[in-house]
Symmetry: C2
Subunit: 278 residues, 2 copies
């Protein structure tokens, strides 16, 4: 397997960064992650634009345009020959002489096998909550200290994931967005303090299919009252959240809206793939 | 210059980590930093204990005891032959197959030349403020996203550093602790949400010299009313904070207490060095 590291393709096992890199010294960097589906870079424009925006927000200079990256990505996936995969692009703070000031970033792309089936029945998950807001929610930084630190608590409580909130106002999961479906069939996702997820964006676009989907404020109380709750991410698409902190949500079963939206998402993926090949 | 990386001493320029390390992937790791003063590892027990506690808190297994590390450190500094230096020990989340779950940590020690003179006149600094609390203030993690992100703002405002507070309750600087000296000559440092700095600890110990120094609550209002404000860190020892958000603190000059405490700290360092050599 090859990776792309600072302007060249090299064998993955040889892809190293010097210890003076600001990711190692100070956890400073940004990244993005998306799927290769049957050889198609799924929603790559969205992800590359977000990476460029994350870099700009964190005062890091991305060495490539979105077009450059598209070309590098095509070459990489062709060389590796693995049609279903996850693609991770990382931009670090670079080799810093004083271990604090960012310099020219190190840029890397890693491809890892990842097979997601097109099963339209959403997985059911139970979640716990934790009071926290991500440091710089405007950017997709590599800082997952809190999310990883909470893995122990998630396991201890036999949960699948942890939802961040502050004073009861909900923001996001460490690696996913949240939506609720209200009694009035409004579909709402937090407008602030949450990463602008690309799957989240796809769900918001489903308003054109007649769904009343929008950004707004979501509280823990709203979740307790919700008919349905689901999470979204590039690798999970849509999963039904059926339990929070040990309390059942709605009737504890996957709701109709959640199920319909997942079907729409899978459909969209297929359409995107066809359009890209066309 | 040699560094210590995963059980062996290697040339610094060859010290690399594979890109699957969780510091690069997710900014996950802990570290500590202290000074080598004329060949003496200054307050090494305190720093090594804190590193071990940081690792434990972050669910990372430190591969060495404090005694092991003392031995490795002595060998490293002897090999490098640079008597005045900074010593950085980093413990990362390790090479993670799924780029999220911590594994066996990578452990590294880096020595860099660092000369601190014994000038007893404190440097005067002006600071700005930012509303923020460090994610996991109990541990010295490598996550400095916010501190580094704020470098631009610090420069733009011609300041030296930025002080974190939440709703006006002060915690710490990205890399230093804060103390105020009140009108009644109480010397107070924030008790919570701040790293338990080793220089901070040395200042707290000065209560045995008759100073009324203690942990407590410090607000931005307290700072505005304070007679003196100073910051502490291993590399800065004590610096006089004379301006905050463009407003003068006290009479805008270094206070007597700040100056006395710095003299005590330098004295303590010399005593420690002598005791260690004895």
């Amino acid at each position: 397997m090859y990776v792309f590291l600072n302007h060249r393709f090299i064998a993955q096992e040889k892809a190293m960064l010097h210890i003076s890199d600001l990711a190692i010294q100070r956890g400073y960097g940004v990244f993005d992650f998306f799927r290769l589906r049957e050889g198609v870079l799924l929603y790559a424009e969205d992800h590359l634009q977000r990476l460029i925006q994350s870099a700009k927000f964190m005062h890091l200079e991305c060495p490539y345009t979105a077009n450059d990256m598209q070309q590098i990505l095509r070459q990489l996936v062709q060389t590796n020959g693995i049609p279903n995969a996850g693609i991770r692009i990382i931009l670090t703070g670079g080799y810093s002489p004083d271990a604090y000031e960012p310099t020219t970033p190190n840029f890397l792309i890693v491809q890892s096998p990842l097979q997601i089936d097109d099963n339209t029945e959403p997985k059911k998950v139970n979640i716990i909550t934790h009071e926290f807001v991500r440091d710089l929610p405007e950017a997709k930084t590599i800082n997952y200290s809190m999310g990883i630190w909470l893995l122990k608590k998630i396991k201890e409580q036999h949960a699948h994931d942890v939802l961040y909130h502050q004073n009861g106002i909900v923001s996001e999961f460490p690696r996913s967005n949240i939506f609720i479906v209200t009694e009035n069939d409004e579909i709402i996702t937090p407008a602030t303090n949450a990463l602008k997820g690309i799957t989240r964006k796809r769900v918001l676009e489903l308003s054109c299919k007649g769904y009343d989907v929008k950004e707004g404020t979501v509280t823990l109380h709203d979740i307790a009252q919700a008919k349905e709750v689901f999470l979204t991410s590039s690798t999970k698409r849509i999963q039904a959240v059926v339990e929070i902190d040990g309390k059942r949500i709605g009737d504890g079963q996957t709701g109709d809206t959640t199920r319909q939206l997942l079907a729409h998402l899978i459909c969209k993926e297929k359409e995107y793939a066809m359009a890209t090949f066309a």
